[in-house]
Amino acid sequence: MGLGLLASRAMRPLKSSNFRMCARYIVTKPELQSPESAAAEAPAQPDLPPRTPVGGARIHFPNPEDAIEVFVDGFPVKIPKGFTVLQACEVAGVDIPRFCYHSRLSIAGNCRMCLVEVEKSPKPVASCAMPALPGMKIKTDTPVAKKAREGVMEFLLMNHPLDCPICDQGGECDLQDQSMAFGSDRGRFTEMKRSVVDKNLGPLVKTVMTRCIQCTRCVRFATEVAGVQDLGMLGRGSGEEIGTYVEKLMTSELSGNVIDICPVGALTSKPFAFKARNWELKGTESIDVTDAVGSNIRIDSRGPEVLRITPRLNEDINEEWISDKTRFCYDGLKRQRLNDPMIRGADGRFKAMSWRDALAVVAEVAHQVKPEEIVGIAGKLSDAESMMALKDFLNKMGSNNVWCEGNGMQTSADLRSGYIMNTSISGLEKADLFLLVGTQLRALDLGLVPESSNCVESAKFVYLMGADDVNLDKVPNDAFVVYQGHHGDSGVYRANVILPAAAFSEKEGTYENTEGCSQQTLPAVPTVGDARDDWKIIRALSEVAGMRLPYDTVGAIRSRNQDSGTKPLAYGRERASYIWAFVEAQVHPKDEFDPIQ
């Protein structure tokens, strides 16, 4: 919930009824206690401007006769049966303040921040837990609702430490935002605040449990989404604490998400602690490449440094969660990077050299060997553009031995349905059984399949494009190995020439996830040292070698991808595997029955 939205909600009465905003005391008056009087006071507004749902949400009606109509601040909205009051308000474009409610978790209803007034109800109701009934008249902007929120806010802040200046959540804290928008302007609390012992949840999640407001979002996330019963609530009343029941780390691979769902600064990121304030960061919407899910992420950077990675909403792929590997992989982007083209000297040590000399050496060696002795291997992190360029370059050199690591033994790129995950990621929820097999879709979609499977044994010139997991013991000792990549990983130890390339956070590249959905990364930070984008290196090398590839821009190479053959990499959802049905029709045995006889 953005501060701007909340602030504008809080500001609304300023514009309409200025005379009511004289001085705000924490007082109770008889008319504030009775909802009926407030209802009578509200003037009927006949022509309200149509409002758009919060966040541009769309409502799906499973069967239209189940639609009910409720009134939010006098504005009629149609919602499906079973919606809560809070959801009805969201459809009407009213953002209700909340702490414990989260649309992907079960409803707890324990923070009481979402109190709204409902006509003919004696008390304000917790809108997140109350189902909307036909004809319900919901009022979100009345004095009763405001006073209820103010009271709840006062209770929440009673035991919340005043350490916003040293809190990592500061600036993106729901409690901070909502106390600015809905809280009281003065405190009445003079006693001691309670303090809670911090819990050790491991190296990723930092806890300051005194800040916790017991919304139990983390407990529900761990139980319902991560599927581990690690977190729970201990104690009752003012002794209530969130914790692991015994001294234990949170070992789920999704544990980083509790950082995002925590509305206060109780659970924050340990690697990010005290590194930056969120308003200093530049967010770049990108794609994660560390696994085959292709999670949508936002890379937050400051200057040339990636400071954190947070998830981005994509309902079909990662919803709003990301794994810990995705979230915390960014520290590797800063260390042990290749930043200069290098060549291995006679003494076995690498010497930095200019791009001009490095490409000249590589091109010369590539021309000295026979075309069938050239092998190109694309790594697991290579983007589609650079793989296409590598394949085109090697084909121009006369070799067809270009393949990708991370594939199974028998690779066939003929039928797309043979290697993509045909049940989509969102379809996984309905699956009974999983069989996990590794394939690299991007590469197979581009036809990166070797001509002969044992081409490495006879290779004289090996081009590793970020390939680190391939077994290089089989490469002959006299072969010339070029390593193009961003980290000095295992491939570098065998390399003769190193060409530094950009990591996924520094380049624009197309990646495809396990269900065949193509997505694009965007550069968040500049490249390190003298590194270049992968496809540009191959394009430059092709020109130095006298086999100039016909594309100069990333747009040109994408259109080359599009018409490269049967499987164009179009952005968006996976393409339907039409061939599947065709194959099944073909395998029917035909020789048993002949209609002519």
Partner: protein, 132 residues
């Protein structure tokens, strides 16, 4: 503050293009005459010769050969005089001189190659930086 006063003194505008032109030649001569002391001040003997510096000055002036507005020429002359004064007053350091008038003329010399003649603009840009 004698040199400051000298630096801010603005001569009257040139009345015509001819006058501006003769002023440019005057400035060129002044600059050429100060080359020996510049080489002396900044210890440039081992990196550059007098004639190289002379041609550098000439090429700096020829960069603006297309300008015909006397007012603009006067302004450029003023800037040139200011730069010359700065150099002679040792307001610069040796690496400034080398960077601006010796090496920086044509980019880094070792990055240039006679083989670069036939290469595409893509490759030229590629050697320069990743961003183009």
């Amino acid at each position: 503050m004698a040199f400051a006063a000298r630096a801010v003194k603005v001569p009257p505008n040139s009345a015509s293009l001819e006058e501006a032109r003769s002023r440019v030649f005057d400035f060129f001569r002044t600059a050429c005459r100060s080359i020996p002391s510049i080489i002396d001040i900044y210890n440039l003997d081992e990196v550059v010769t007098k004639s190289q510096l002379r041609s550098t000055i000439a090429s700096e002036i020829r960069k603006n050969a297309h300008i015909t507005n006397p007012k603009v020429i006067d302004m450029l002359l003023f800037k040139g005089t200011e730069e010359l004064n700065n150099i002679l007053e040792h307001a610069k350091q040796r690496h400034h001189m080398i960077g601006q008038y010796v090496v920086g003329r044509e980019g880094l010399v070792h990055d240039r190659d006679p083989k670069d003649e036939g290469i595409s603009s893509f490759l030229k840009n590629f050697y320069n930086s990743n961003y183009f």
